[in-house]
């Protein structure tokens, strides 16, 4: 993740990629553009770095891939697996907990 990468953002790329892939299967370029679009350019991947990351998720069996020809172009499409959905649920709960805690501190008496 570019622009800011403090330690509490660990696991965020995984969360974002799994969340995007949970709705439909996508290819690498699509994922990068979707993150950029959804976050209104505030978060963006280094474009070429998405692939080692996707391959890692595939090795962990959180996503799987297939080669598909669309409009004369051959691309690898990635799709979330049931293990990936479980991991997404865990990551989302963890993120919620961290975000709520930060929110509490920000809005608390010492803020």
């Amino acid at each position: 993740v570019k622009k800011s990468n403090p330690s509490f953002l660990n696991g965020v790329p995984e969360l974002l990629v799994l969340k995007l892939l949970s709705s439909r299967e996508m290819y690498g370029y699509e994922i990068v553009q979707a993150i950029r679009f959804e976050t209104k350019n505030s978060l963006s991947f280094g474009e070429g770095c998405i692939y080692p990351y996707l391959h890692h998720l595939e090795k962990e069996k959180l996503v799987n891939s297939r080669r598909k020809d669309v409009q004369g172009r051959s691309r690898y499409y990635y799709k979330i697996t049931s293990l990936g959905r479980k991991r997404l649920g865990d990551l989302f709960a963890e993120w919620r907990r961290v975000a709520d805690s930060i929110q509490l501190v920000m809005g608390g008496q010492y803020a």
């Binding site: 290819y27 690498g28 370029y29 990068v32 280094g46 474009e47 070429g48 770095c49 692939y51 080692p52 990351y53 391959h55 890692h56 090795k59 172009r73 051959s74 691309r75 690898y76």
Partner: protein, 447 residues
């Protein structure tokens, strides 16, 4: 068209880093597609072709860094990539033992298939076939060389494949081959007319030493081809050394000679408590009553072939030896040492006891040729050692122990080599043996 260079640089860097071809192909395919999408988007924004190329290259990232990140990802996803020192320098070369075990199982499986198909027991036809094959000149040594080279060569090649598959890098493949070569120094697959053995000896096996170097040379050469660069002299030097090893005869230890009279013998002594509790294979039961009254022990011939110095001198099976050169013999080891130290061609006088009579017989000492050697073996758990709690001089607790030869000798039968064991130490499935391989026994004066 993508800017010439970006994808190419990425691909070449991945090759240099030793990534597997299939993974490189896929990474290049995906990155190329991404580049095209980026460029199409830039063109859609009204940029010129060259400006769109520049924009796409800038967004995609620096190709060398991307390749290194991709290779690191591949390395991280594999156990061999994460544990390169342990894997390629220690476990890999040691795992060679596993490879030969697989070979043994393969042999066993082939025998089983033949037994099943032909309905003949392997025990019956294997020795006969081996004896038949040994008639063909140089066939068995050639087969032995081929098997040695192919087993260790296959294993070294497997480690090279693992190094590429895990993107560990070229140097780790070469290190693994060097480890195999060091391991191969001790490893011996021995195939003769009477013996099929896999063992470790403290003497060089040139074939097993140099075959991994051949594999390393081949690997470096193919890596150079992949990188489209000149490989230099090293791969060719390694290939040459490896090919040379195919012609190199295994170097044997120099042969030594000692005195020989022939026969299998044991110590005959009075019955005692320890012999009853822990019977030794070196001790025969009882002495004749006449001898028992005046002697504590004597040597008894338990077997004697006809064409031996002892037999020619008139000694027979079940004779008791009381003296050698007028010195009483009461211990097997002393008797054996006395005979060993006799010069071939000289005569010793042996006093023997037979049917109540004592005979003095001159024995012309023959010559036994042997080579010193030791083995380290992994034995199957079914090889169970016996209890031997007496220090005579070894001691054995079945699963671990030390057994020293109490003085037993074996005769060569049908010209088969015999291993004259000096001592053996074992623990679990590991066994270390030191002794002498007796390769010839001949009468004095004969060639």
């Amino acid at each position: 068209m993508p800017e010439p260079g970006v994808i190419e640089k990425f691909e070449r860097r991945m090759i240099v880093l030793g990534c597997p071809g299939r993974k490189i192909k896929r990474a290049v395919h995906e990155l190329d597609g991404h580049y095209s999408d980026l460029k199409a988007a830039a063109l859609g924004q009204g940029l010129s072709d060259s400006a769109a190329d520049d924009r796409a290259a800038a967004l995609l990232g620096e190709p060398i860094g991307l390749a290194e990140k991709a290779a690191a990802g591949l390395r991280h996803s594999s156990w061999w990539g994460r544990h390169r020192v342990v894997g390629f320098c220690i476990l890999g070369p040691l795992g060679f033992g596993l490879a030969w075990l697989l070979c043994v199982f393969l042999f066993g499986f082939i025998f089983w298939v033949i037994e099943f198909a032909a309905g003949r027991s392997a025990e019956a036809w294997v020795p006969a076939t081996m004896a038949h094959l040994s008639q063909v000149p140089a066939l068995l040594p050639l087969l032995q060389t081929l098997i040695n080279a192919s087993v260790i060569g296959f294993f070294a090649a497997f480690l090279c494949w693992l190094a590429r598959r895990s993107a560990a890098g070229t140097k780790w493949a070469v290190l693994a081959c060097a480890g195999c070569a060091v391991h191969g120094w001790f490893f011996h697959f021995i195939l003769t007319a009477h013996l099929l053995m896999i063992t470790y000896r403290w003497q060089p096996n040139w074939v097993c030493l140099l075959t991994p170097l051949l594999v390393a040379g081949g690997f470096l050469f193919t890596q150079g081809q992949r990188e489209r660069r000149r490989t230099g002299a090293l791969p060719f030097a390694l290939l040459f050394l490896g090919l040379l090893s195919g012609c190199a005869a295994p170097r044997e230890q120099p042969a030594s000679r000692r005195g020989w009279i022939g026969g299998d013998y044991k110590l005959a002594c009075r019955e005692n408590f320890w012999n009853a509790v822990s019977p030794s294979p070196a001790v025969a039961s009882g002495l004749p009553r006449e001898l028992g009254s005046k002697l504590k022990s004597a040597i008894v011939f338990t077997g004697l072939r006809t064409n031996t110095p002892a037999s020619r001198a008139g000694l027979q099976q079940k004779d008791y030896i009381l003296e050698v050169n007028h010195q009483p013999v009461i211990r097997l080891r002393d008797f054996r040492r006395t005979i060993d130290q006799c010069k071939p061609g000289t005569t010793v006088t042996i006093r023997a006891y037979r049917d109540g009579k004592e005979l003095d017989l001159p024995v012309l000492i023959g010559e036994e040729t042997f080579r010193k050697g030791g083995t380290f073996s992994i034995v199957f758990p079914s090889v169970v050692h016996r209890w031997d709690l007496c220090l005579n001089p070894g001691v054995s607790f079945v699963i671990a122990g030390y057994e020293a030869n109490p003085g037993l000798r074996h005769e060569m039968r049908n010209s088969r080599e015999v291993f004259d064991e000096d001592w053996k130490a074992f623990a679990g499935i590991f066994e270390l043996t030191k002794g002498k391989r007796v390769i010839a026994q001949k009468l004095a004066g004969s060639d």
